[in-house]
């Protein structure tokens, strides 16, 4: 009686073992899949909730397509933009020329959280690229509670030109943490020139502050930052490159104004840039041509 029962019992035990093994396998598979789903959900929730602490995302290196589009805007596209109806810098008098490395110096003072700086960096990048090479740009947005305007950052960037020196200071990052600390001389420059006497009463004391070799100075942006609102960096770069819509008109117009002002610093060098009709027209309106 016991002989024939033993194999059946063994088979049953084997079957139970198999069932147990399968149950374990299901549990392990379910756990793995569950962990994956939970990780993705947590990542998305943290992102949607604004990084968990309400802070804006830090700047990242600018994409090559964005850099390529804004540093190679065709001359014909810029020519069409004219001044785009953008504001022009004020003439500075009674100040010593600002130079660095034996060249006239363009000094910029801004911050990554600032929406007006966000707007102004686009035309600055376009204009500076006509006189030299701008590298290591970052891309970011102004602070979420300050327009969330897509922009570039000059923090960590480098600029090479035989015509001028560009010195950018991004004093704070998008979350108002200290980024670049100005030297005492640079701070004195800001304190002196970012005043009603030199940049006009409306925007005095605000940023971005720019001095063009102490021949011209501006405070605030050349156009309304809301033009850029809700757009991606690539969309903005494409519109700039093609001169399309309000972005093309405002950014390229402001770029021409900045170009004309730089031409004043460089004594109209290089000539192929500074003799462009749109640039010359703006130069004459700057009152120093």
């Amino acid at each position: 009686m016991t002989g024939p029962r033993m194999p059946r019992a063994k088979a049953m035990r084997a079957e139970m073992k198999r069932r147990e093994a399968r149950r374990k396998q299901f549990m392990i598979s379910g756990a793995v899949i569950g962990v994956v789903i939970i990780v993705v959900v947590v990542l998305v929730v943290v992102k949607v909730a604004g990084g968990g602490n309400g802070k804006s995302a830090a700047a990242t290196a600018a994409s090559s397509s964005v850099v390529s589009q804004i540093t190679t805007v065709p001359a014909s596209t810029l020519e069409k933009a004219g001044d785009g109806g953008t504001t022009k810098p004020n003439k500075v008098t009674g100040q010593p020329p600002l130079t660095a490395n034996g060249k006239p110096e363009l000094f910029y003072f801004g911050a990554e959280w600032c929406p007006f700086c966000a707007a102004q960096r686009w035309p600055m990048a376009v204009a500076l690229s006509r006189f030299g090479t701008l590298s290591n740009l970052s891309q970011t947005h102004s602070a979420k509670n300050d327009g969330d305007i897509p922009t570039l950052s000059f923090h960590g960037s480098t600029y090479t030109s035989k015509y001028l020196t560009f010195t950018p200071i991004e004093s704070q990052d998008v979350n108002h943490n200290t980024l670049d600390t100005p030297t005492a001389e640079q701070q004195k420059l800001v304190n002196t020139l970012d005043t009603p006497q030199f940049v006009g009463g409306d925007s005095a004391g605000s940023i971005p502050f720019i001095t063009y070799g102490n021949q011209f100075a501006s405070s605030g942006s050349s156009f309304n930052p809301s033009v850029l609102s809700g757009k991606s960096h690539d969309e903005i770069a494409k519109d700039i490159h093609n001169g399309s819509g309000d972005i093309g008109k405002n950014v390229n117009g402001a770029a021409n104004v900045i170009t004309a002002t730089i031409c004043q610093m460089t004594k109209n060098q290089p000539s192929n840039v500074c003799t462009a009709p749109a640039v010359q027209k703006i130069e004459s309106s700057l009152g120093a041509g």
Binding site: P4, M6, P7, R8, K10, A11, A14, R18, R22, Q25, F26, I28, S29, V32, I33, V36, V39, V40, L43, V44, K47, G51, A57, T60, A61, S63, S64, S65, V66, P150, G230, K231, S232, H233, D234, E235
Partner: protein, 162 residues
């Protein structure tokens, strides 16, 4: 004695040969082939400068921003290129012949490869959300395919018939 030998032999045979469910092979092969196709497309676009990448653009969705970001290259190798060997291996591992082979090391390799692929996908999702702040739809399709591969392969192993 004869009955005992037969039962033991059956148990051994059952533990040695556990056939995968029939749905596993076509689903995993199809997913692997789609993944390979998308990886080839992304690799070609990577070397063409992403100029023709068919992808809508908004402040959230932006394929070019993701695929040209500094994070799109790991140890000098573009992420798009890293997807190629993964999906080539998955196509090979999910061919009908591979499923029929049913050798333990191949089954283990299939599971481990998809788990490693999934961990890498989670890292890429993190990078998209927090480093680049943009989503690439083509990359997301690869992420979903990898996830579905993981689910299918794990369930196929759990459902193996005895």
């Amino acid at each position: 004695m004869r009955a005992e030998r037969t039962a033991a032999a059956d148990a051994r045979a059952a533990s040695e040969h556990r056939a995968a469910p029939r749905w596993a092979m076509p689903i995993t092969l199809l997913l692997s082939l789609i993944g390979l196709g998308v990886s080839i497309y992304l690799t070609i676009e990577h070397y063409n400068g992403n100029s023709g990448l068919a992808c809508p653009e908004s402040s959230t969705v932006n394929c070019a921003k993701v695929t040209t970001s500094p994070e799109s290259v790991i140890a000098g190798i573009p992420v798009a290129v890293l997807g190629l060997p993964f999906f080539v291996a998955m196509v090979a591992a999910n061919l009908p012949q591979s499923w029929r082979l049913d050798v333990p090391w191949l089954r283990l390799a299939r599971v481990v490869a998809t788990c490693v692929g999934m961990v890498f996908v989670l890292y890429l999702v993190y990078v998209e959300l927090f480093k680049v702040s943009a989503i690439c739809l083509w990359c997301t399709s690869v992420h979903i395919i990898t996830f579905l591969l993981l689910v299918t392969i794990l369930l196929a192993e759990a459902f193996r018939e005895t």
